[in-house]
Amino acid sequence: MIRPAPLVGLAICGWLLAVMILGSGYDQRLMALAAAAALMAIGYQLVFGQAGALSLAQGACFAIGAYSAGILSRLGWPLWAELPAAVLVPALLAGLAHAPVRRLDGHFFALATLGFAVLVRLVAVDAQSLTGGANGLAGVPAFGRGPGAMLVGWGAVGLAAALALWLKRGGNGPALALVRGDADLARASGLDPERIRARGFGLAAGFAGAGGALQAHVLGLVSPDVADFQVMVGCLAMVVIGGRGSVAGAVLGALLIGHLPEWLRPLGASYRIAYGLGLFACLLVAPAGLIGTLERAWPSRRTTGATAPSPVPPTGRPLRIESIEKSYGGIAVLRGVTLEIRPGEIMGLIGPNGSGKTTLVNLISGLDRPDRGTIRLGARALERLSPDRIALAGVARSFQSPAPPDGMSPLDLVTAALAARAGCVGFGAAAALDPLHRQAEGLLRRSPSSDIARALALDPAILLLDEPAAGLDADARAGLALLLRALADEGRGLLVVEHDMGFLMGLADRVAVLLDGRIARVGTADEVRADPAVRAAYLGPAAC
């Protein structure tokens, strides 16, 4: 069954053809300019729509492309050398600008990219000798009038769209959805959000550069207006209105925003009020954009028939935690924790609230770093690795709040982790989606929660489970216990943090008690239960 995005693509092709045959020179020029904007918006989908980073530098990259094309063509560069340069220059500058700020999160990243945009604008307006200052650059060779420029422009859009679709094909889609939905969860699933974002940012800059160059050649000039923040706002509007993340949505958004002044011409100069209100209304009633709203209204496609998951080889490496210390703001949470989790065993971890159980799991999985101490899986030191490396090295974890991020199905979530394990980490290399889906469905059937299935997708040697039984009824608990035993029998080591003592005592081979930031006792369930110190401090007299 045909999906909405290709349908919209077809409709756009029809529109283009009509303008090409029936439209006036003016209409065709408008279409060529819309193509320039579409190139920028398609690129922006990679960094904002796909990788989920609010970059405010896309307009600036468009301007860099326009100026590169203008400057180089006036220097007499031929088109075949100048156009690739107009793509590469913004991509390289964006790469340079991104390197120092790659660790920044959310609004800090937005601010840093905004700073980059302001600096680009200053150069455009003030570096007279380079950019022509307020006068801009005139005499850029123009692609002929009539359908010629339109043909070149939309040919480029076609290529760019194909490239963008290729970049997010297969398992990339769910992996990118996880990266923008929840960065920590993505890291724990073996994905590196910073690297994915850096790639998206650089690629987006290249697309924007192509758009800028096209605009320079359609207009035959470069004006400093191209570096205005309005260009960035327009790009944001195209992507939001068209549909975040969708290539067809970016093109549709660019066409609509590009023609809005024309359609609202009766309103005169105040058409821009309607533009602002339209953007707002779109956020209000169709937050997924035109394409996203269509996708949701469309009957959904089911992937068919699942086979059993591929058998997992026993792994057999112990996890050794030695003298781990961690304090927050001068308060010691862990004061030297030493613990070994052997292959094939279920280790329970108990301790009163605030004793540092979750902190320990966070340190092992790399979400936080220990102040002192070592963590080794077999011979490999983990304590300085990033969470995604740790996850891929064979230590997976589940979280206490197991709901997939907004808009992701459990199937997507598990598929994202499978894709990460298959080495497909956002933009570029990809594993085919259908086998991943089949595998994910198998794992989901096996697991009581999508988050445990996600952790299992990493095929871990060591599995850390943070309160897996919370919120499960008796039947599900029994199922979970069977699953955990089966996983241990496959040769995996399990660390289970749990409040439900009954559940843990019947299941764990050994139980470790965390008291005041230290392991107070490790032993069988009976030994721990009999230990007077543990009883006094934790289980209380009623537990005897």
Partner: protein, 299 residues
């Protein structure tokens, strides 16, 4: 009067004095930004446009009511508080259950609409608003301060202190801080969180309106005047430590003094370039601002 200060020092002191008034205005914009940020976690990209709107409100009021800015200031703040309420209904309420990016984009869209609306009504040409203490300059030895700048300084200091009192010393402020810290618990304790959030928007808009009036006199107002202000407020809040009121004020003063001094010795272009260069550098060295909030994620 002849000062005993060496000439270079006098120049520097004068530049710092000029920067101080602007810094005070930036600080009020940043305070409004942080108020909304703390109450809702939302980034209000239209805070600068609210300042612009306040400026035009002052210009319009001064046309029908040709009195001192001192009289108009409370009127403009009142009107803007009303606008703040409307704004919260549009930009916050419908988006509170959605990912924060939607609220942010909604404020961008509304800010854009405001700019274009004012452009349609008043045109792009700069308009002069009222001043608090009239024209002219006051001399302090070798240093001079325009009456307009003095008005900005005094008004911003007064409003800043009033806000500190409101947030720190009143029941309203305690409830506001409680609901900002933990809305779920606050709601359970019977604190009307939604109404307090609306109040934060009203307060932030009133502060923006005050700044709009204060700046409209000496610096005029244009439909796009808010863009520079929101950028500076955003930088101030970021380098000051996301969410910290004191940090926002410190950040705003730092930016204004930096700009004033660099612009005085070089040019305003160099000042802007140096400012953003410095911010980028700062973000590299201190990725969470000067005074980072101690945030921890419990998995």
């Amino acid at each position: 009067m002849t000062g005993s200060m060496p000439a270079e020092l006098t120049v520097l002191a004068q530049l710092l004095l000029n920067g101080l008034a602007l810094g005070a205005a930036y600080a009020l914009v940043a305070l409004g930004f942080v108020l909304i940020l703390n109450a809702t976690g939302a980034i209000n990209f239209a805070q600068g446009d609210m300042v612009m709107l306040g400026g035009y409100a002052a210009v319009a009021l001064a046309r029908v009511l040709p009195v001192s800015g001192l009289v108009l200031l409370p009127l403009v703040m009142l009107a803007m508080a009303g606008f703040g309420l409307l704004f919260s209904l549009l930009a916050w309420r419908p988006f509170r259950q959605r990912p924060p990016i939607f609220g942010l984009l909604a404020t961008v869209a509304l800010g854009l609409t405001l700019q274009e609306a004012m452009n349609a009504v008043e045109g792009a040409a700069p308009q002069a608003g009222p001043t608090l203490f009239g024209p002219g300059e006051i001399r302090f030895g070798p240093l001079g301060l325009s009456r307009a700048s003095l008005g900005i300084l005094i008004a911003c200091l007064g409003l800043g202190l009033a806000q500190a009192w409101l947030l720190g010393r009143t029941q309203f402020g305690r409830r506001l801080r409680a609901s900002a810290q933990d809305p779920v618990t606050a709601r359970a304790l019977g604190i009307p969180v939604d109404r307090l959030i609306a109040a934060s928007f009203m307060l932030a808009a009133a502060l923006a309106g005050a700044v709009g009036l204060l700046l409209s006199g000496p610096y005029f107002v244009t439909p796009t005047a808010g863009n520079d202000l929101i950028l500076r407020a955003y930088i101030a809040v970021t380098i000051g430590g996301w969410g910290s009121l004191k940090g926002a004020v410190a950040g705003a003063l730092l930016i204004a003094l930096f700009e004033s001094v660099v612009a005085g010795y070089a040019s305003s272009t160099v000042a802007t370039a140096a400012l953003y260069g410095a911010v980028l550098l700062l973000l590299v060295v201190r990725p969470a601002g000067l005074f980072p909030a101690p945030l921890g994620r419990r998995a």
